[in-house]
């Protein structure tokens, strides 16, 4: 696997200040009978100014909940969210409203992100009005500017969501998020609901806007190709916890956590055209329920290299390389993903 993707956006250097830093962030939901859903369970992570951080993991591992907690759409159970040097974990009222301008969200499902009863123009204009832009002409101008940036014509403002395509709507979601001039944008699987032919357009649009508007991006995805294509750093999440964080190239060439490796192997298998069950045979069973999380290392029931200690002792954070953290007892003994890919004989890039 060589680099088939041109890499023309600069990797952010170590020196950049974190724009967002999460300290032991926890979000539990009540699950009845005194039990809790451990959606986000002690996440510490920082996002640097100007970078694109990829957040990958299986569905249900808490990626979206993490995003919603950071954006203060839901309240954190414990831990801290520090944004731009300020603890925003329990920001309220006016402060929270100001915060809304600086961090925004791109939804996974563009069809559901707009009120079906409202014209897109009304949907787009509302946030401007709510953030004190009183002059109608000014709002209009701002909207047109943004439509131009995302490459959509003005006529769409008259329409309702049902009259638009998924690609158009996703551009509109992005436009709406950027209207308030945020510096931080979380994109929750921005392309997974779209046709394959539209995906690249939307991703390229995001990269372009990021450069033009000086954004910091968190890109949630379960598609490793997207992450490899766009991100500077990648965080891998498993069952409410971050298991590995590394710069993109480092993660893809030298993954340390067995879960990361299985994910990569699965991705390789897919590209190589091998049976998808190559992954299933490696990853035993379904992800455990986030209500009854496994003891010790959460990954141990499915881990190909688990040993006794894994089921009892929670692994510490190790640093296999500069800017590379991994949470595994045996990070230095994990076989490489290509070795895991026993069923595939073809080289994906030939």
């Amino acid at each position: 696997m060589t680099t088939s993707v041109p890499l023309d956006h600069p990797t952010v250097t170590e020196a950049a200040q974190p724009l967002l830093s999460l300290q032991d962030l926890v979000k539990h939901y009540p699950a009845g009978k005194g039990k809790k859903v451990h959606s986000v369970d002690g996440v510490s992570l920082s996002v640097r100014q100007g970078e694109v951080l990829g957040l990958v993991g299986e569905s249900g591992c808490g990626k979206s909940t993490l995003a919603r907690t950071i954006l203060r759409a839901v309240d954190a159970t414990s831990g801290h969210i520090v944004f731009d040097g300020e603890d925003i974990t329990s920001a309220k009222g006016k402060r929270l409203k100001e915060l809304r301008r600086s961090m925004q969200f791109v939804f996974q499902d563009p069809y559901g992100a707009f009120d079906p009863k409202m014209s897109l123009g009304t949907s787009l204009e509302a946030p401007l009005r709510h953030h004190g832009m009183k002059d109608r002409a000014q709002r209009q101008q701002r909207m047109l500017e943004m439509l131009d940036r995302v490459g959509i014509e003005e006529a769409i403002l008259e329409r309702r969501p049902a009259e638009c395509s998924g690609g158009q709507l996703q551009r509109m979601v992005i436009a709406r998020a950027l209207l308030l001039e945020p510096k931080f944008l979380i994109c929750d699987e921005p392309t997974s609901a779209l046709d394959a032919s539209i995906r690249a357009q939307i991703l390229n649009l995001l990269v372009e806007l990021k450069d033009q508007l000086d954004l910091t991006l968190v890109l949630i995805s379960h598609d490793l190709r997207v992450v490899r294509y766009l991100c500077d750093r990648v965080a891998v999440m498993y069952l409410g916890k971050i298991v590995e964080v590394a710069p993109r190239d480092e993660l893809f060439t030298n993954p340390r956590h067995p879960y990361t490796r299985v994910l990569l192997a699965a991705s390789l298998a897919e590209q190589a055209g091998a049976e998808a069950n190559a992954m299933v045979s490696r990853l035993r069973g379904e992800p455990p329920s986030p209500i009854d999380v496994p003891s010790g290392c959460r990954f141990h029931p499915r881990c190909p290299i688990a040993q006794d200690i894994c089921s009892t002792v929670v692994p510490e954070i190790s640093r296999p390389g500069q800017d590379h953290t991994v949470t595994c007892h045996f990070w230095d003994q994990v076989p490489h993903p290509s070795a895991l890919l026993a069923t595939s004989t073809r080289n994906p890039d030939e």
Binding site: V5, A113, D115, K117, H130, A200
Partner: protein, 327 residues
């Protein structure tokens, strides 16, 4: 690796050919709206609309088309049968029954409609706010609904009328006190569902105020079932107004409505049964027409499946509406 990923597109997005089709805005008139609305709905909708339109037409035109003054007595011509002058005969004071039906209907329908609108608006707002705020407010609202639903609205009306005397204000207030509860309950359920939609979350993340979310997102998106419920409840309101008038607590003489006419007719059931049958039928037809519209709005006509010539089953009314019934 698929093509979409491996080629890095160069063109700026605003240079792409437009994805837009040409928009064709058109403002349909009321009639075509009605016809469009009837298409794809249960047949009861169309029948109800026609019936109600007839009733309303007659009631609106009453001042011009009613053959006699409804209060003019003609004691020499009491309890007469149908004739060219009095199509539906005369009542126990020799008043023209047709005219009284027309004028009385104006009271019945107006009071029921006013009450219903107040109930629907307040109930919806209360329900939506309860769902939005949750916590103690939600608890308070829902427990109040539970309590109020235990009392038949006629009982509450009797109580209020005993306190404040008869009058249209009291009547409307009495019917509203219990009348908002099914709307609140329905709206709360709908709002809870709508609150979990992405566009509501988007509005929150975009910093829209709660009131905007409730009034511009939640309530408009819940409007369809609430309107259907409004139509379904109208018949009930009409009957309750009639019942109170029948008990002598609603519309007061010399005004009259269908309920009061029933009351007047009671002593003459044997000699002139039409005196009771006619206002009863008027209540029945009006209530039926509105309820049919409500049913039609509530029930989506099942689309005929191409290869199944079997009869289309009529689905039962949704349980959400049945649940709200106070009876």
């Amino acid at each position: 690796m698929p093509d979409t990923m491996s080629t890095r597109p160069v063109p700026r997005p605003n240079q792409r050919p437009s994805e837009l089709r040409s928009a064709t805005p058109h403002r349909p008139n009321v009639l075509s709206l009605l016809v469009r609305g009837a298409q794809g709905r249960h047949w009861t909708f169309a029948v109800g609309v026609v019936l109600l339109a007839l009733v309303l037409l007659v009631l609106v035109l009453t001042p011009w088309i009613s053959p006699h003054d409804p209060a003019t007595q003609d004691l020499g011509n009491r309890l007469a049968g149908p004739s060219a002058d009095h199509w539906f005969g005369t009542d126990h004071l020799g008043r023209d029954v047709l005219s009284r039906l027309m004028w009385g209907g104006r009271f019945s329908v107006t009071i029921a409609a006013i009450t219903l609108v107040i109930c629907a608006v307040t109930g919806s707002i209360i329900g939506a706010l309860a769902a939005r705020r949750g916590g103690w407010l939600d608890e308070l609202v829902m427990r109040s609904v539970d309590v109020l639903i235990c009392f038949p609205d006629v009982v509450i009306a009797l109580f209020l009328i005993a306190l404040f005397g008869t009058g249209y204000g009291t009547l409307i207030a009495a019917l509203t006190i219990t009348g908002w509860t099914p709307f609140a309950r329905l709206m709360r359920g709908l709002a809870l569902e709508i609150n979990s939609k992405d566009y509501v979350e988007a509005a929150e993340i975009l910093g829209s105020p709660k009131s905007y979310i409730v009034f511009r997102h939640v309530i408009p998106n819940a409007s369809r079932p609430v309107v259907a419920m409004g139509f379904l409840r109208f018949g009930h309101k009409l009957i309750t107004v009639g019942a109170l008038s029948y008990l002598g607590l609603g519309v007061q003489p010399p005004d009259s409505d269908w309920g009061a006419m029933l009351l007047d007719a009671q002593p003459y059931m044997e000699r002139a049964p039409s005196l009771g049958v006619l206002p009863g039928a008027a209540i029945f037809v009006t209530a039926l027409s509105v309820t049919m519209i409500g049913q039609g709005l509530d029930i989506k006509k099942r689309r005929k499946r191409a290869k199944e010539p079997t009869a289309i089953p009529v689905p039962p009314p949704s349980t959400a509406l049945v649940e709200g019934e106070a009876l």
